[in-house]
Symmetry: C2
Subunit: 323 residues, 2 copies
């Protein structure tokens, strides 16, 4: 695996961070038996719990590892804290939900004096500022030392979504339009992976009224689109030339790097027409980048008619290079 | 800090693991603003969420760090997995609740070949077996690599408790009896810290009917009793001679080592009488070890009349050596 761009991160050639680990988890989690209240278990952006009310409870966890997900020397502790919470908020957004409360863990070697009380105070301040902005209660946590000096932070978040607004990765049908919010690529160098705004506002506008099939782009546009495709049982014909790119990005970066924290979603042709007229957010672009097609096998993405750019099987992720 | 007994753990002289870190967290967490649905925020064994039904939702997180909370060379991966879940179950028990669902994270350096796919498979199998026993749905998770080779596992758990059964650390009153379940001390060498059974059965019997003031002993009997005392606003007169000791333990170990995962709780004299008659569990002892006393300042524990054995202030933990 070739490190790209930045000494402190583990983006590989295609920017897909830790895909091997993610694949492993995709194989391991299905072993766990799910109780009847679990409406959606492992495999989506959040677990969905049926608490017997008009809303579902959403439940997700994400990690931030120093010098894996952020570079200690380039990132303020406040920004690292914000990123941890925002990664989780992006997962809640992808389900069409609103965040409610969260728990925090810190594991670090305090004797190292890199992650010390002063650093942690600022890290907590970053989380605090972000949490207040979104009305999230950080209602508990745990702190531990590590032996070798890694610093691992986790945040587990609960949220809520009205049952009719729930968005899953499955549900896209033949002829549905594939939309994206925002721009893609060059997230790391541009600082977007730290500065991004989780798309909760946009997701809440879309959920239920325009779509019930959505994912947030963390692993890379093609990877995450392939998840929609695979779980919906319907292939995708992508129009890669339409993918909106962040400044400094090329198509390969836009398709594969990840950490964009934008939304990908499916809308029926009728709803797509209405959506393009009604999209109210001047500061966030909305772009049609493809169409779901039952003529393409689930988990496969073609650029135009004949150019296979991505193929996944359940529990297995394979990248086909696109020149 | 002097390591005791075992190369792979960080028990200090009094067995109180990571108290410095825990104290830090006690200072940091109160900064976070809590929404109106948070009935109990940071500072108890679980956060308590009022979801507008007859039950509260409980929410807690715990970590397991390799060679801090368990020694890689002495502990099977299955046992480590079980311990991670059981630590969380013990927190749910302390609130009088039942566990429902949980999320799991793994951060490790997979290239090290210590924590590899085979090890993790067994670790997950341990969690799976324990989860099935208690009806816990492991409904999602995340996996990441670390840079330096630490292995950090977290589990965030949700549970439920009927509102009238909720047990907090606060609520003990003058003349209430301090009870404990089971035995104390020598948890590490005896293997109890791995093999223990979380006291959910016992807690469910007690909660609401005999007590609403409870804590589980993870930091050490005196430390955790002092938490009950401090948060209840009422000191404790302990009868240290009555503390039931695990085989191989002395009084100092029993009072200070921690990782006992037993329950400490307060019962009124009237309920205490009834409880001693009705306690149905032949395999788990129930022992009166002290009495709450308004004549002793909150957060202070005297052994008998005059021997101060423990004193804490809010956010500050101080151990007074008892010979």
């Amino acid at each position: 695996m070739k490190n790209y761009g930045h000494a402190g991160n583990t983006f590989n050639k295609y920017g897909r961070m830790e895909m091997k680990e993610k694949d492993f988890l995709r194989k391991m989690l299905p072993r766990f038996r799910q109780g009847t209240e679990i409406a959606v278990g492992p495999g989506d952006d959040c677990a969905v719990i049926d608490v017997g009310k008009k809303d579902y409870l959403l439940f997700a966890v994400d990690q931030l590892v120093a010098n894996v997900h952020f570079a200690m020397k380039d990132c303020t502790p406040e920004s690292a804290g914000k990123k941890l919470l925002k990664r989780n908020l992006s997962d809640i957004a992808a389900m069409g939900g609103l965040p409610s409360f969260a728990l925090l863990t810190v594991a670090a070697k305090f004797a190292d004096k890199v992650i010390d009380a002063r650093w942690l105070d600022k890290f907590f301040a970053g989380i605090e500022a972000e949490a207040e902005q979104w009305g999230v209660s950080i209602c508990g946590g745990d702190i531990s030392s590590t032996r070798k000096g890694d610093a691992v932070f986790t945040l587990s978040i609960a949220g809520r979504v009205e049952k009719k607004k729930l968005c899953l990765r499955s549900g896209a049908q033949n002829a549905d339009i594939l939309f994206c919010t925002g721009r893609f690529g060059n997230s790391y160098k541009s600082g977007h992976h730290i500065a991004f705004v989780p798309r909760i506002r946009e997701a809440r506008f879309l959920a239920g009224d325009y779509t019930n099939t959505m994912i947030d782009v963390s692993d890379g546009l093609l990877s995450d689109a392939a998840q929609l495709s695979s779980m919906s049982g319907c292939g995708i014909r992508l129009d890669a030339g339409k993918i909106p790119m962040r400044k400094g990005a090329d198509l390969q970066m836009a398709q594969g790097e990840g950490e964009d924290y934008e939304l990908l979603f499916a809308a029926s042709p009728r709803k797509a027409l209405k959506l393009k007229k009604k999209w109210p957010f001047k500061d966030v672009s909305l772009t049609e980048i493809g169409v779901f097609s039952s003529g393409v096998r689930a988990g496969k993405i073609f650029d135009g008619k004949n150019d296979l750019v991505k193929k996944i099987s359940p529990g297995y992720d394979h990248f086909t290079t696109k020149k």
